[in-house]
Symmetry: C4
Subunit: 372 residues, 4 copies
């Protein structure tokens, strides 16, 4: 069944599939769209839509984290981003939004992110989100988790997102004391989302650290250059399905602990969201699609966190374009363009209805066709 291909004598590769390679197959009854629910719950936190923000400064400010929470999703602020390096990053964001295709954008990103992180600003940003009355989540990199965790926890977040391009349950270092995720999470009182990861084994190991959610994928989109820089390209349909197998095995091994899968990569449209969930994801992480909201702090510009790496940037800068509409319109419509970038979760709901499913968990069993 599983396609293991001998690419040369004695050297094998597993075949992997991208979301673009597959499509959903309606093959049962149909259902009224109003009878369909997109609700999602992580630990004690309920959401109207299975939507987590990718923690880029282009989309997540304290204000938009609140806005997304109010719209029913989960905002995530990067505590290693501009908002914790600058008292007021608005001027920088404005400048970035004016860069055009000719500008040395990567160099400018490297410069503005060279400013050190200020712990006091972390506390201030978290407070601002909490005051918005929504679930508070922030992202920290595995490298800085031990250093920044005390500040973050003191500030009072609900959910901690430990996210690097790739996170393993076992990081090896001869110089620094590496983060032991399992011990770290065991000592915490709050749910942790960790990742990205790209395969069954790493996903399973991350689940065994006690994480409540695991991020699948490296956040790749058309601006990402992880492929050309590192040779790493994640076929998301396969990565999600493999991680879902890890979820099942871990559920069995623990007698019932369900770890949520959050798909991060190759998701641009409502159709992509439907396909990611159909492969087995519980929720999706949205990056660039949210940069198209009027409220986006990047004012239409888009960049990944890795795009500002001082020595090895991975991610092109997406120059600002016209926003598509309000966050509400992007998430819930009505759409007035037919390309799947508006009414993202209305589109998901209709896809579920046309396939006859009532909720996201059921929809993970939808039929798929491979046609590319």
């Amino acid at each position: 069944m599983r396609d293991v291909v001998e690419i040369g004598l004695g050297k094998t590769a597993q075949r992997g599939y991208h979301l673009d390679d597959i499509a959903i197959v309606p093959s049962r009854r149909t259902r009224d769209v109003d009878d369909v629910s997109t609700a999602w719950q992580l630990d004690a936190y309920p959401f109207e839509i299975p939507c987590v923000a990718h923690p880029s400064d282009a989309t997540m400010s304290p204000a938009t984290a609140v806005a997304l929470g109010r719209q029913g999703g989960l905002g995530v602020l990067n505590v290693e981003g501009l908002w914790t390096r600058y008292e007021n990053p608005t001027k920088i964001l404005e400048e970035l939004s004016t860069l055009d295709e000719e500008a040395p954008a990567t160099r400018r990103l490297q410069e503005v992110y060279a400013e050190p992180i200020r712990p006091d600003l972390i506390a201030e940003r978290v407070r601002a989100i909490r005051e918005g009355g929504v679930t508070v989540a922030v992202r920290v990199s595995p490298q800085h988790t031990l250093a920044l965790a005390p500040v973050i926890l003191d500030a009072g977040v609900d959910i901690l997102v430990i996210q690097g391009t790739l996170v393993s349950a076992e990081h090896v270092s001869t110089t620094d004391e590496p983060l032991n995720l399992k011990e770290f999470i065991a000592d915490l009182d709050l749910p942790v989302i960790a990742g990205g990861c790209t395969d069954y084994k790493t996903a399973l190991h991350l689940m065994r650290t006690g994480a409540a959610g695991v991020i699948v994928g490296v956040g790749a989109d058309e601006w990402s250059t992880t492929d050309t820089v590192l040779g790493i390209r994640v076929p998301m349909a396969t990565a999600i399905a493999d991680a879902a197998a890890a979820r099942r095995d871990y559920l069995d091994e623990t007698g019932g602990r369900y770890v949520h899968l959050i798909a991060d990569g190759d998701i641009q449209t409502s159709g992509d969201i439907a396909k990611a969930l159909g492969c087995g994801a519980d929720a999706v992480m949205l990056g660039e699609p949210l940069s198209l909201c009027e409220e986006a702090p990047g004012m239409g510009a888009w960049w990944h966190s890795a795009a500002s790496h001082p020595k090895l940037p991975r991610g092109a800068f997406g120059v600002a374009g016209e926003p598509l509409g309000s966050m509400e319109k992007v998430l819930y419509g009505p759409a007035d363009e037919p390309d799947g970038q508006l009414n993202l979760f209305g589109g998901l709901k209709r896809a579920m209805a046309k396939c006859g499913y009532r909720d996201v968990k059921e929809f993970q069993r939808v039929g798929l066709v491979l046609d590319r």
Copy 2:
């Protein structure tokens, strides 16, 4: 034989093929093109060509439904389109034909289709077609079938087309009384064509409702965005062949009831028509190809019904271009361009002749090659 692929651990997808992936293989005798027949008959209604119009306002007015009937095909008017919302939609059609690539065309479609449907106009339009002396067919959506059927039937149509993007034999609703297709059809005296559907099971269930014809596919073409909005993309070669298997099994189960398959999607050229029939279709539904006729009410513009959906439009607006020629030239030639958009059924006839087949039913057995 059938390719079921494990795209990830424990998650499978069936491999599907598009019409573009395949080609016809001549592998027997050749035959004189004048000895080949493209005749088709649905229930009591004979046609010279296996051609059903996709019921878009861009191609089907009462007048062009008559024109297509006189040319030997089956015109289908949408009773939920502009002709039943406006006494005289000509001005609107003219305006739409002047929209350019920059215009907010989707928004304009949403506006003009917001006008309510007038039952009196349904009766008037049907009468106009009937007076043309051709087989009368209209399209209604499954949602509005129960409400509009009395008016339609009173008006006196020959064939009823119940068509949504996807139609199942069992629609579930907690709020409205859903359409029970089987009971509805049993009570009717006229043949019903129902669809679209995309797989064996749904096709078989639609056949069991008593439909005389089943539409295979969702009418996708290069303007369609069902893929990006809903994640649904139909590999037509596979969908047609699977539905043809349902036709065989239903024929056996009923001891002889033959349900016609009408392929709707990915058909732009005479070569595509030949391939759809070669996969097992009895007839093809033509959308955009007919918008290139001089007679088309859209005056060269093209849009799907779903392109005007108020909240989730699915289908880009194709701005008007120069028509290719009269409907007769489009259907029967002579072609003076070599790209397969003219002389659609002359091209089909020649393909059949080069493969040595005499009629459409025989041609369904033609050899195929998969080369992409």
Copy 3:
């Protein structure tokens, strides 16, 4: 081994491969290029290169047929082309060479080819080639073979090419007396090349008619539209290999009659020639590549015979560009551009040398890789 794919329930397609899908694999010794021979012989006629002209008026006039013969290949004049319809077609050819992308070129082709064929001109053209001192070959379509054969044979040709898009050994007609190829060839004293064909069975049947050579393929290139008009697209690597199997089986069945395979389609560069021979062809038919010679009567323009069909043209008109150089330079170099369109047979020779083969027949066993 052979890939038969179930594209839908109960409907199969054979997988086919294009020349572009494969490449040659050097895997043995290497050899001096000067020790390699590209000689080819058909019946009593020896050639320095395995090169037959595709009989388009764009490349073959009586003068260029002679020129190609002197260069070591086989020129073929179309007796249903402009040279047998007009006393002096030069003006028409000049006019065609001035058409640009905007011109209604197909319509103009249809007009100029509407002129009737004059038997006296057939005789005159054949005489002109014979006087050039080369092997004389002309092409006639199967439809006109019975009518034109007496004139052609009287005129004294060496090789007769009976070529249509597709030729079968058994053509069925209820109106005309169809050509019985087997009887026709049996009555002739000269070798016949017949085709095109695309599969094992048709190739075998054509061999059984007594043909000395069989054309494999339908002459498709980037200007051809057989695909969009008829749904017929020939994966040449597979078609050639299948016909080579027919050649082997026919050799066995006859105890030694060797029928030559002439590949006609998808051959633009020296690399393509090497791949076609590597799949099992004995020679290649060159169309558009010869239109790039300075001597070409089309003066750089290019069109297929089928491009002028009065009702169903299949083939776009290639507007004239700058010629690449003399016929000698195109065939034998030296090349001063690196794209494989110059020094066609020098390139073939070098490919054979790098794979260690001495002659074309040996080279048919070269290793292949499938990488697309």
Copy 4:
């Protein structure tokens, strides 16, 4: 396992994969990037990075060979290039760097390479490199090895690179005395790198000649036209893996002689380097990527050796663009563009770290996914 496909009846092809078809899969621990080593050693010569220069005049002058050596790689000067034909080729290089897309660049290359090779200049160039204090390597073609070897050896090189597009262990010639690689190498005191080759058998035979390193591939990149001219296209992932199998078998057969594989082709970015090593290469040969260094003698222009062939050039001329930065920046960063062309070996190091490997030899076992 290994995919042997019957492309036609009785004709098979092996399926091959390009580096673009695959990606690296992180599936274990992660590791600190500072704990990773990219060191490589060939015979007695240690290198900081597994980087060998492709011996094109566009990138390798005596000065840049020294510069690359000082940066930790292995420079290779072509003794059949401009530096051994001209006392001072700078003017020619300058002229070439000013050619634009319209220039007849191939013809100009053919002209400037028509100048004869001067043995005295070989000695002078070697001396210049030796004086730079780095490992001295030069490239000679198999055809000229016997003639030029005495001069080269007298001049005192450390490593001899015998490289043609394709080199076999057994070259057959009826006119010249062919090079017997085995005897030639046996008589030498210095390590020889030989190639290119593309398959298991040729690689094994080259190893048996006593070569210390074998070049895999024909140096193809987007400027190469070996494919269109010769029909030869090398799927590098497969070619490297097959050669790695030959390395294992030869290691076993000799009880421990380890021959290094140097991958030459389809390597543009740090991601490509990682993938080539992941397939089993010990080092990579860099051509065009080094032409982007400020120091490159071609001043941004790029051409292969085969691009100047007098009769059958294979390789388009890449007109000069803006350099990306110093050689140090290209090799070690910091990158200020995210497309994988800068910080080539920093990118490799990070890829290794994210997959948890410490050195290049270990990294050859990394997991691969096939996703195209």
